[in-house]
Symmetry: C2
Subunit: 336 residues, 2 copies
């Protein structure tokens, strides 16, 4: 019934059972001295009334609340929802639920939600953001529950998980080389992003110092402009373009097609993110680097369980591997 | 400190204060008999240690936990995250936090998370989905906390909020008529969706029984195929195409451009959803119907507060208006 508002209290159970609140409490918590029959009768009444033993009573026994809080400033969900799915997957068999709170970039909202999580005595808090070089606007330095950071900047002594941008970029560029591409260009986002610098560094390592890098924005429009630039340059057109994200790659592919340059015959294009809404809808669909965000989430869930079980987890940044997802925009066969 | 795992317990506070656990509890709950000085001293020690009074103790006083649960099967976040942002906005000033749990389409997961929410004694549960004619796989019929349904199918006696698809579609088609378009076509998703039937019904009301409706999938690829069909038909090309979502509209716009049919000069195109990643990146950017999901969320938050405050809310489906967002794909000036 959607409009009922009364909560069954322990006192209601006690009243129906004809015992004191203390006795009812002991019966349900498995403590105190009473006959098995009395205990079972009280439990049955509680079940019939729909009484739910409160979180505190359970936590007092196990010192665990079977809840993990997930805080994010990623209100679009692009990064955090796959992470959340992974955390859930890791925890559901332990009977642990994940509660997500969105804090936008508002420290006051952060405070309210962290307080709410601590109030509910979560077993741990996972912080998840939308870039690896920005902190969420919350101060958790005084907090005594375990904390794991995923895909966001973390204090030095924290347990933190990010995807390995450099390794992912390496794989992408090596794939272009392996299918015979030699004139490589990297079209990417703003240099102010750490992930841009990581990916660009890996690109240069594989493609060489002379291979051009064009920095711009994270948009399709930038992909179009970059192709404009490349086509009006004196030099030969590249035969392989590694893009900093899928939106840029989509712009690049569309701009090439509109100039009657065939993808992948004339130019191979690789994206980054493997964001299906973009990568799968591109014509042809994009080969792209997947950051394995769900795997990051699973590992975060595992580490939070370790920590909340009182086990030691070495602090520091853990980098998890990315995976190249091959579609049609490069040509060549899928890697073994 | 991310790796600390000990939780400060009431017994720690009591020990440091040199009082019994019961006295410490009473001091912090504002009950019992003791000097003001003792009470303040214990409170100060609790604050210094970072002890957090448990949720139950607070709930016992206010009968409210200041938490609302949000359950969703929308793991992509397309619909639920804007709803969540709205709920948060409505509740944050009341000091209420929203906890989101993702249940995919798994009844077992639904059960675990609903139990966790009830354990935490949430003041209410909001259910949110990804279509208005499917139920989430959870049975809440026996649950006594207030429930509000948003953007998902609900039982008859429930409080439920959806966007007004028919009104939104009406506005879109009337807008096409108001800028002089006469040969109108509707290209939309699968007829099995209630929202498709609602939007199509509104289209026919405005455009007339003879105006063609093409049903397909929710994809860009279907937008391309639909333009193929329209161009190979014997009849004149339409001069206004109302699309069932933005992805279809993007496919339609791309397909028209590739046939050198100018949008909006020759054909006006309207989308539905106003999903910025698609609508703003289309060339030209799409005029689109926005379902005001954040406003749905705000209203859901307001209703949950009413219900958890014990006030009556009339059950039934509430339809909230959509809003036409005018960009360049139609031509004409923005409506007053």
């Amino acid at each position: 019934m959607a409009i009922a508002t009364d909560r069954i209290r322990l006192s209601d159970v006690a009243q129906v059972a004809g015992v004191s609140v203390a006795t009812a409490s002991k019966a349900l918590n498995g403590t105190g001295r009473m006959t098995l029959e009395t205990r079972e009768r009280i439990k049955q009444i509680a079940a019939d009334l729909g009484f739910r033993p409160n979180a505190m009573a359970r936590a007092l026994i196990s010192q665990r609340s079977f809840t993990v809080g997930l805080l994010t400033n990623d209100t679009y969900g692009r990064f955090t929802l796959p992470v959340m799915a992974g955390v859930s997957e890791a925890l559901v068999d332990e009977g642990v639920s994940v509660f997500l709170c969105g804090i936008e970039d508002d420290p006051a909202l952060g405070r309210v939600h962290v307080d709410a999580m601590l109030d509910k005595q979560v077993d741990g808090i996972i912080l998840s953001g939308k870039r690896i070089d920005k902190r969420l606007p919350v101060d958790l330095s005084e907090i005594s529950v375990p904390i794991v950071y995923v895909f966001t900047e973390a204090p030095d002594d924290a347990v933190s998980l990010v995807s390995d941008d450099a390794q992912g970029a390496h794989e992408a560029v090596e794939w272009l080389v392996s299918i015979g591409r030699r004139r490589l260009v990297h079209v990417t986002g703003p240099k102010s992003f750490a992930s841009v610098r990581e990916r660009a560094g890996a690109f240069t390592q594989v493609a060489g110092e002379s291979a051009e890098i064009l920095y711009g924005s994270w948009s399709e429009a930038w992909g179009h402009s970059a192709v404009d630039q490349l086509c009006s340059a004196e030099t030969d057109l590249p035969d392989g373009i590694f893009c900093g994200n899928d939106q840029i790659a989509r712009g690049v592919v569309d701009a090439l097609r509109e100039r009657h340059i065939a993808v992948p015959r004339d130019v191979s294009v690789v994206g980054f993110d493997n964001w299906e809404i973009v990568s799968a809808a591109t014509r042809p669909p994009l080969t792209s680097v997947d950051m394995n965000l769900k795997a990051l989430g699973r590992e975060a869930g595992r580490l939070i369980l370790e920590l909340s079980g009182g086990r030691h987890v070495e602090p520091g940044i853990r980098k998890l591997p990315c995976k190249l997802v091959v579609r049609e925009s490069c040509g060549g066969a899928a890697p073994a």
